[in-house]
Amino acid sequence: MSNQKAQLAFEILARENSRMLTAYLRTLVDNESVVDDLFQESMLVAWRRLDECDLSRPFGPWLRGIAGRLVLAHYRKRKTSPVFMNEALLTHVDQQFESISMRPGDTWDEKVLAIRECIAGLSASHRAAIEGRYFDELKTSALAERLDISFEACKKRLVRARGLLAECLARKGILTEAGT
């Protein structure tokens, strides 16, 4: 493949997978500027190693493999890491993302549209917790104050709400039981 063709092919693959990669990095890293840096770095490594990629197979898992290694390297450099962040967890996260990628829909947003229905289906208290934490971007302390509950109760409510969303997404076939 000529370099020009390779560049064009890569641009198509990058555009097709950019939403997925951003969501994947947002899953594993909390800081948006780090997400941004890791996005660029993952894509550039993929570009440099394109010759090693088997283009007859899906590009997404290969790209996530690169991104996952960069995420682990990022935490190693910081010398602090969430205790559960390891290769085994990344494998399970990758399986869930692969499950989402297989869903019907032309774009990433179409594939994960069901999450809004699942939010709508939550009880008022759980929905308020999710909306406050994610869509209003409140810190847990501020959210606890808004909901008039203790900090610890707020954390538990968020865990429970995410668990309910996971169940809903599994029922809709978005998340898989693989990796249990």
């Binding site: 370099n3 947002r26 594993l28 996005f39 010759d51 709508a120 810190k139 865990v159 998340l175 249990t180």
Partner: protein, 346 residues
């Protein structure tokens, strides 16, 4: 998942804390942890996603590849840990381009100022000409393009979850707005599921319906303006005449200098005078210098409000007399469609 297992995850996701002791025993059952984490990621992504930011990411990447000579072998020996932050490199590159670009713009402005004659048409005169043109019962169609999107859509408190989901389903990008003078318009947009939603006003009543739903009509002429870019900011261009008059007091307007004196199209730029003025931060009107017809409008910095578009462009796609009754709802649906009347809003 036991309490001990989900606690570190919760500490990290919700309290911003994580163990510095890597000797802690990792969880053995990954499934609940994985699902918590993936749901967290999907929620963060849904809340933070912005199309414009995503486009910029790709543009930066492609620029970086281009900067490296476009060769994927050139730096194939670079290791992951040793590679420089691409974003950092790109930011430095962007600054250089920005400075060079600014100098270029400054040079152009200087040339324009020295060489070109100042306009004989004042901004105030231009605005009046545009307003008079909008008052005429001339039928025009504009296509709407979303140039920049906030992406992060929040449910307004006054909407139920069901209403919010229905509204989120609407797609303004690619919509068509037909206007025919004061209080006459038809707005057509598609829904994400492929159906279509129409709303309009014939000067006597406003109306709205979906492909498969009843027609709702109201004698409140502003009743169904929702989702028209700028509506929530009181600059709804469905009624060009009355809305453009708001520019007289709420905006500082200036006519940009001619860069092409042969061109029939002139550009009026308006900047909101203060935050107290409800409306986009700035706007551009590209109009015919003789008859004031708006050919292109750009509304920039629409208040975040419900999320959605940040910058939209309305392009004139045609100007020709509409068929009789075009602005009434019954022109657009079968006779047997159910009609539901709604009273004026309190």
């Amino acid at each position: 998942m036991t309490r001990n297992e989900h606690e570190p995850m919760s500490d990290w996701l919700d309290a911003g804390e994580f163990s510095e002791d890597s000797t802690d025993k990792p969880a053995t059952d990954h499934s609940p942890l994985t699902k918590q984490l993936v749901v967290h990621g999907l929620l963060r992504d849904a809340a933070r996603h912005e199309d414009a930011a995503e486009k910029k990411r790709i543009e930066r990447l492609l620029a970086e590849i281009e900067r490296q000579g476009g060769s994927n072998n050139a730096r194939s020996d670079a290791t992951v840990s040793g590679s420089k932050s691409a974003a950092g490199t790109q930011r430095r590159g962007s600054r250089i381009f920005a400075i060079a670009g600014s100098l270029g713009v400054a040079a152009c402005l200087l040339i324009a100022f020295v060489v070109l004659r100042p306009s004989t048409l004042s901004a105030a005169e231009a605005l009046e000409r545009i307003i008079q043109s909008a008052a005429q019962s001339v039928d025009r169609a504009y296509e709407i393009h979303v140039l920049e999107d906030y992406g992060q859509r929040r449910k307004p408190e006054n909407l139920s979850e069901q209403q919010w989901l229905a509204e989120s389903n609407e797609n303004v990008d690619g919509a068509t707005l037909y206007v025919g003078g004061i209080d006459r318009h038809v707005f057509v947009r598609s829904l994400n599921d492929g159906r279509q939603r129409m709303s309009g006003c014939d000067g006597n009543e406003s109306w709205a319906f979906r492909d498969d739903g009843p027609v709702r009509v109201s004698d409140d002429l502003t009743r169904f303006r929702g989702k028209i870019p700028g509506q929530q900011q009181s600059i709804a261009f469905t009624d060009l005449y009355s809305q453009l008059t708001l520019l007289r007091d709420g905006y500082d307007v200036e006519l940009s200098e001619d860069t092409d004196r042969q061109s029939q199209i002139r550009r009026l730029v308006g900047h909101r005078k203060s935050r107290d003025v409800r409306g986009p931060k700035s706007l551009e009107l590209h109009f015919d210098r003789d008859d004031g017809t708006i050919h292109r409008m750009i509304l920039e910095g629409l208040p975040r409000g419900h999320g959605g578009p940040k910058t939209v462009e309305l392009m004139l796609v045609f100007q020709k007399p509409a068929e009789e009754g075009f602005y009434s709802h019954d022109f657009h649906h079968d006779d047997d469609r159910k009609i539901k009347s709604e009273g004026s809003q309190p």
